[in-house]
């Protein structure tokens, strides 16, 4: 899996700035969004000169007049280009196969989490003789799609699946319901999928948060812990990577004998294991409160070293 970012997340940023922001976030590359009337050769030259790591192209529209230029760009950069399935099936598949094959490019038809649609798309590819120049991309919208059939969809699409595009993630992750992404990622992993996963905003209204997220590796734009009272900390708005530090900091600031109440949106067992690993034995006691499914709590009491834990 190569986690990447769509340029749709930051339409105003120059390529180089976007690439730098991706590196700071540990992302493997960029999906370039190609405008229908874009200048392909100029874009290809810019990408090559900047050494920006482009992993895929995206075109929201595809017709006879733009397919050729997209195919050339895909061939020039050696990365696949995706477009919505409707845009691909509107034209003639044999013709698209030929255009992309001639240019040395790859076209990926982006399907939604809809089993019938995927079966129809794979059947069309198989009728066309499974051409190497055409495949499938999964346009995954966890906030608006039912992911309960995702296992069956993956099974149907697996042979042709070369790209996963996730509408959400990034700064949207912690507020998304997201139920179903975990099991889906597990199925993808076990199926051996090693291709790119491109993060892209779920709606234009989310763009300011993506910009803030990209501008800072710290928790800007992603909320921060708010102490909800004395010795209380709520980390639901804290980025996962910063949660442990926030909780350990609050715990170490506790007076002996005091209890820290923690509020989380996941099972706090991992915090118990984290304390066990990082604190001297016998210096805390831990109690889980509640059992989700939305909110969990825990109480951690600071003990004097050597004092009997209760």
């Amino acid at each position: 899996m190569k986690l990447s970012l769509s340029a749709a997340a930051a339409p105003g940023l120059e390529l180089e700035a976007l690439d730098a922001a991706c590196r700071a976030r540990g992302l493997d590359g960029i999906e370039l969004v190609v405008a229908p009337a874009g200048d392909g050769p100029t874009l290809a030259a810019r990408v090559r000169a900047s050494r920006v790591r482009v992993v895929a192209l995206r075109a929201e529209r595809l017709d006879d007049s733009t397919a050729g230029s997209l195919a050339h760009l895909s061939g020039e950069l050696g990365v696949p280009a995706s477009a919505p399935l409707d845009e691909v099936t509107r034209g003639s598949l044999p013709k698209l196969v030929r255009v992309f094959a001639d240019a040395g490019g790859t076209l990926l038809a982006g399907f939604g989490t809809d089993l019938e649609q995927v079966i129809a798309a794979t059947a069309a590819l198989e009728r066309a003789g499974v051409p190497p120049s055409v495949g499938l991309a999964w346009d995954l919208r966890p906030s608006s799609e039912d992911l309960s059939s995702s296992g069956a969809v993956l099974l149907a699409a697996r042979r042709h699946l070369r790209l996963v595009r996730l509408y959400g993630g990034g700064p949207e992750q912690h507020q998304q319901d997201g139920r179903g992404i975990g099991p889906l990622l597990v199925d993808l992993a076990i199926s051996g999928y090693g291709g790119p996963i491109v993060l892209t905003p779920s709606a234009p209204a989310e763009l300011p948060r993506w910009l803030a997220w990209l501008a800072s590796r710290k928790s800007a734009g992603c909320g921060s812990a708010h102490p909800s009272g004395e010795h209380e900390v709520d980390v639901r708005d804290v980025e996962p990577k910063d949660r442990l530090g926030t909780i350990l900091g609050a715990f170490r600031a506790l007076p002996l004998g005091a209890t820290l109440r923690i509020t989380l949106d996941h099972d706090p067992s991992c915090m118990y294991y984290a304390l066990e690993e990082s604190e001297p034995a016998g210096t805390f006691s831990f109690r889980k409160i509640g059992d989700g499914p939305e909110v969990w709590g825990a109480e951690v009491t600071r003990r004097a070293p050597g004092a009997a834990a209760s």
């Binding site: 899996m1 597990v186 992993a189 051996g192 996963i197 989700g292």
Partner: protein, 77 residues
């Protein structure tokens, strides 16, 4: 050489640990997967030790500062 990679960064918090354990439990003996994360998953190692003692090997492949990769293998019986 494992080809199974699980990038846990995009999984919502409450589904992270269940997803990791599901992946591990789906492995055959001697198989492994690479876990990718944006912080050191050391508490997870403790949790593996507590819940699956002697059944796994834990090898750091990349240790930050931005990305951590751990090869988690299921021990052969």
């Amino acid at each position: 050489m494992s080809t199974i990679e699980l990038d846990i960064r995009i999984v919502p918090p409450r589904e992270k640990h269940p997803a990791i354990f599901r992946t591990f439990d789906a492995l055959g003996e001697g198989e492994a997967f690479t876990l990718i994360n944006d912080h050191d998953p050391f508490p997870l190692r403790r949790q593996f030790e507590a819940t699956r003692p002697g059944q796994f090997q834990w090898t750091y492949v990349e240790v930050g500062p931005v990305v951590w990769r751990v090869l988690i293998a299921k021990s052969a019986a």
